[in-house]
């Protein structure tokens, strides 16, 4: 199964995503700030990155821009309590998906399944 990287400064969100995605059978790595997230995303072989936007050291946009330059195949799922317009902006900026906190676990599963489905050409 492909590996998933979760970058979030909130411990409970990290743990929740880790528990749930592991339960779904994915290999999950965790990063607690943007800087660490960029390093891990560039070093590891991940298929999906769950990335929070408001984080210390580096915010989610910076992480996305730095990483997606090099790892063009990597699917980013931005997670934050974004207002609607910001979510739209995020999609226009190239982010594949946005999950608005507090999100349902079903949304997480559907997003992952959608990304990994054969129909997804990326």
């Amino acid at each position: 199964m492909p590996a998933i990287l979760v970058i979030d400064d909130s411990e409970v969100i990290r743990n929740l995503l880790s528990d749930y995605l592991t339960e779904l059978g994915h290999q999950v790595d965790l990063a607690s700030d943007g800087q660490q997230g960029v390093e891990m995303a560039l070093q590891g072989e991940y298929r999906i990155v769950f990335c929070d936007i408001h984080m210390p050291k580096k915010n989610g946009w910076e992480v996305y821009q730095e990483v997606s330059k090099i790892k063009t195949q990597l699917a980013f799922v931005m997670t934050d309590s974004l207002p609607d317009e910001l979510a739209k902006m995020a999609q226009e900026a190239g982010a594949r998906r946005c999950l608005r906190k507090p999100f349902d676990l079903s949304e997480v599963r559907e997003t992952v399944e959608q990304i990994l489905s054969p129909a997804e050409t990326r």
């Binding site: 400064d9 409970v12 969100i13 528990d19 906190k101 507090p102």
Partner: protein, 562 residues
């Protein structure tokens, strides 16, 4: 003032009337004086002529009287003279100077009686002596002296009847002086006549003068009146009254001037009205624009408030969403797992993980509660609250008792330095304790183990109008903050702590509380050098502290210290 200055100061009328009157007076007076003189001379000459006629007539009439020395005949001849008032004295003398006859009284002593000869005119005839005499009483006389001649005819031959001897014998007439006639005429009558004539001339002159001056004055007034009107109108217009018109109906230059003036006033008035109109319009526009600006400003303030509220809401939402996400996610996860699990075959591992999920859910729910509570306290702190007399050192003691355990758990030493006999402060003890607790907990979170936190209370001396203040310092040896963080330290939801450790509201709440006490809170920090928070609370009761405190979002009145 010199003459020119005086001339310049005179009114137009005076300028015309004065010189013209002076000229008139001089001319008329000169003419009358000349007239009087001529008249006087004429009178005298007339008298002289009359006198001369008389004296010559007398000289002829008395010839035989003198020849025969007949006093009677002489007096008869002279008696005619008595009819004339002007004749003062007359006498007939022979060649030896002996007076043969006289009429009137005359004291004939030139030197003794000081009868002075003021004039000795040579008469038209060479033989008539003519004197002008004035006696000491001021009476004037004319003295005329004419010689008395006698004709001596030499009879010729023809007269005698001798016709022989040719005609060589011509008749010859010889005149011989036999005496003199002296006539003294009084000038009094003449002088009285002259004086009367003078009086008449003078009266006439005066009348003519007064009349001509009156005519001149009214004439000048006639000319200057329109000018005066113009001056008055100009003056009134100069004072801003454009209603006045010059009322002059004349066809001459002054009339034209008045008409031009009125036209000028009309156009001036029009211009002024236009300007006033512009001014009014401008004023109205200014008022309108000011109102618009005020409205815009009010709108701006309103939108600023809304944006502040929006920011607050966004911050609250952001803070709440993570724990809510945890609660939601773990609950769903547990439910999902439990729905698949056979109740009979529950593993110990599963139960342990469920416990972990539920513990997380509980702790996240608590976190939500804390956030909401802080938010409520934050909103309360911006409202008016009661202020009592409080002892800062006691609050510090209470605070230390409250946080002491937590500090020792974190291996941090708390040193308290309290200055004795601090003045009481007007404040809210529980709010101040909340502030001190917040500062110590913040310091604790920033401090590595085995470091110190120092809490100091001391008196800050009175300065200027301020009645002194109490200072509370909280000094830590922790990680410190960069400048950017120091600037934002009192903003709501700003935090340097890890997620979960703080809400980002503590210091902004503290800030609100201290401002409400009329005090100040400052921060001094640098990375690696620890942080010092200084609270200054004034001793004087904050007179307007609770009123001026913004009842809205305190961030709007926040004063950051670098």
């Amino acid at each position: 003032m010199n003459l020119f200055g005086m001339l310049r100061a005179m009114s137009l009328r005076t300028k015309v009337v004065l010189p013209v009157s002076a000229l008139l007076i001089v001319v008329i007076l000169s003419i009358s004086i000349l007239l009087i003189r001529q008249q006087a001379t004429g009178f005298r000459r007339e008298l002289e002529t009359t006198g001369e006629t008389m004296v010559r007539m007398l000289a002829i009439n008395v010839e035989s009287g003198v020849l025969f020395e007949s006093k009677y005949e002489l007096e008869e001849a002279m008696n005619v003279l008595k009819r004339f008032d002007v004749v003062e004295y007359a006498s007939v003398a022979n060649n030896d100077g002996e007076v043969l006859a006289e009429i009137g009284d005359w004291l004939d002593d030139y030197s003794e009686l000081s009868i002075s000869v003021i004039e000795k005119n040579q008469s038209t005839h060479r033989d008539c002596e003519h004197y002008h005499i004035e006696n000491p009483h001021g009476q004037e006389f004319i003295e005329l002296i004419v010689p008395i001649t006698s004709r001596i005819e030499q009879l010729d031959r023809e007269t005698l009847g001798i016709t022989g001897f040719g005609r060589a014998l011509d008749p010859a007439v010889f005149t011989e002086r036999i005496g003199s006639v002296r006539l003294i005429l009084s000038l009094e009558t003449v002088n009285v006549a002259i004086a009367e004539a003078q009086k008449t001339v003078m009266t006439l002159t005066a009348v003519v003068l007064i009349l001509s001056l009156m005519i001149l004055t009214s004439f000048v007034r006639f000319f200057t009146r329109p000018i005066r009107k113009l001056v008055e109108a100009t003056d009134q217009i100069g004072r801003g009254d454009f209603s006045r018109k010059v009322d002059i109906v004349q066809q001459d230059e002054i009339g034209q001037l008045a008409a031009t003036f009125n036209r000028m006033v009309d156009s001036l008035k029009q211009s002024r009205d236009e300007i006033e109109n512009y001014n009014r319009t401008l004023e109205e526009k200014i008022i309108e624009r000011t109102l618009e600006l005020e409205e815009a400003q009010a709108q701006l303030i309103q939108s600023e408030k809304l944006s502040a509220i929006g920011q607050l809401a966004a911050g609250v939402a952001h803070e709440l969403n993570n724990p809510l996400g945890g609660i939601l996610g773990y609950t769903q996860f547990a439910l999902e797992k439990l729905s698949k699990v056979d109740p009979e075959a529950v593993k110990t591992d599963d139960i342990a993980s469920y416990i972990r999920y539920l513990t997380d859910v509980e702790s996240q729910a608590r976190r939500c509660k804390t956030i909401v509570q802080n938010l409520l306290r934050f909103s309360r702190s911006s409202r008016t609250s009661e202020l009592d007399e409080v002892d800062i050192n006691r609050i510090i003691d209470d605070t230390c008792a409250f946080v002491g355990h937590q500090l020792s758990m974190n291996q941090i030493e708390l040193i308290v330095e309290k200055q004795d006999n601090l003045p009481v402060i007007h404040g809210n003890a529980s709010q101040l304790q909340q502030v001190f607790t917040n500062l110590i907990i913040n310091a604790m979170h920033a401090s590595p183990p085995n470091t110190r936190i120092k809490l100091v209370s001391r008196l800050s001396p009175a300065l200027g109008e301020f009645g002194g203040a109490v200072e509370i310092l909280c000094v830590d040896q922790g990680v410190g903050m960069p400048k950017e963080d120091v600037k934002r330290i009192f903003e709501p939801f700003f935090t340097t702590k890890e997620v979960g450790k703080g809400t980002g509201l503590g210091l902004s709440v503290s800030y609100g509380i201290i401002r409400e006490h009329g005090g100040e809170i400052k921060v001094d920090s640098a990375p690696g050098k620890g942080t010092t928070f200084t609270i200054i609370l004034p001793v004087q009761k904050p007179a307007t502290g609770s009123d001026t405190q913004s009842k809205d979002f305190p961030a709007a009145t926040m004063r950051k210290s670098d």
